[in-house]
């Protein structure tokens, strides 16, 4: 009895503020699960943010926020590196500085280029959408090239870049269904194979929000961006 009490008080307290659908929060979920770290998930209602969230992330007031033993960390890529440095099992980043730089480069590419361009296809109309589509295709080509000779972006195992690109595995199909536009087609065989490998991974498989619920959400959002004339 006493041992359990001591174990409980020594336990790491890890909380994750997110929403049920945010891909940025899902990244952190994947990282925590890959390392076997127990955590408490708090799903926020962004139209009515909790006092705690505002206290933990006063600069951006956004999710995800990781709180480790009372200390908050914001911005998903910052959180991922923190997790990797704090819990050393199943490393997300390699030891070699050049390889680390490569993983960070692709994580940044996803967040600053790929995500933006694909979101442009989803949210924009007319010429802006055409330009977003062209940019998306170019960006996807770069990503496809990076997968040459590799099972995952991290090599044999899932790493930081895989987790960052992970939304391609569960969210792109939702976008394609809602918009009726195919983005990752037979021109990207390596990417398609990677999506299979990633989504079938035992940790990744059941960790995300249900596909149907995502379709409903993005369908509603799509109709807002493209009101019927």
């Amino acid at each position: 009895m006493v041992e359990v009490e001591i174990a409980k008080s020594m336990a790491e307290e890890v909380k994750l503020f997110k929403t049920w659908s945010t891909p940025f929060g899902l990244r952190v979920v994947w990282a925590l699960k890959l390392k076997g770290i127990p955590y408490e998930a708090i799903d926020e209602d962004l139209s009515n943010k909790s006092a705690l969230l505002l206290q933990y992330n006063p600069v951006y007031k956004k999710v995800p926020v990781l709180v480790h033993n009372g200390k908050p960390i914001s911005e998903s890529l910052v959180i991922l590196e923190y997790i990797d440095e704090t819990w050393k099992q199943n490393p997300l980043l390699p030891q070699d500085p050049l390889e680390k730089a490569r993983e960070r480069f692709w994580a940044k590419f996803n967040d600053e280029k790929l995500l933006q361009s694909i979101w442009g296809v989803f949210a924009k109309e007319g010429k802006e959408r055409e330009e977003a589509m062209a940019a998306s295709m170019e960006n996807l080509k770069f990503v496809e090239e990076e997968l040459k000779g590799k099972k995952f972006f991290g090599g044999e195992k899932i790493g930081l870049a895989d987790i960052t690109f992970g939304w391609l595995a569960n969210l792109i199909c939702v976008f394609e269904e809602v918009t009726g536009l195919k983005m990752i087609d037979e021109r990207f065989p390596l990417l398609l194979a990677w999506i299979q490998e990633f989504s079938q991974h035992p940790i990744i498989k059941d960790a995300g929000p249900p596909h149907d619920k995502l379709v409903i959400k993005y369908q509603a959002l799509y109709e807002k961006f493209h009101p019927a004339k």
């Binding site: 600069v59 480790h68 910052v78 923190y82 440095e85 050049l98 680390k100 730089a101």
Partner: protein, 219 residues
Amino acid sequence: MAEEVVLLDFWPSPFGMRVRIALAEKGIKYEYKEEDLKNKSALLLQMNPVHKKIPVLIHNGKPVCESLIQVQYIDEVWHHKSPLLPSDPYQRAIARFWADFVDKKIYDLGRKVWTTKGEEQEAAKKEFIESLKLLEGELGDKPYFGGENLGYVDVVLVPFYSWFYAYEKCGNFSIEAECPKLIAWAKRCMQKESVSKSLPDREKVYGFVLQLKKAFGIE
């Protein structure tokens, strides 16, 4: 075998300045190559095919792109001297958060200050000052963001100090009046050779901005 370090850069780039400072802090000898961005070299296009941008750090023939990634790479490879990131994971996370904040806010807002007019410019100035004030808050009473010595956030932010004069002239405001602690910090950084030798003269930067305004037809 000697280390071969090459930096493809462009003199007014605050991103390039970050890498110059980091290399100087570590005492690394390198070859500086000035790029003409209107006529990019074959080497640049080969070493950074995805973005085709400077700075590019080439270490023993292998490229590293993106300034925050380059500074961390330099810190990790030459870890025995002048560490830029702290060793504690939580302190590292705080440093990375603020470096990311600088990237999200300072460059774009600064750019808006010198490229826009009227209400748009006023809004940019306001947000720019607010962002600097948040950074002042993070600095607190420490001499540097890194504590007693120059650290990651210092290296990431101080290059913009060479652009402040240009922002002030174009925006008709005083950054020092609004953020005296930050200016005191910047001047403290400039006392270090690694910083003062890596930043261009502020008049030169202002001249460059005026040239750009003319070229873009900005009043």
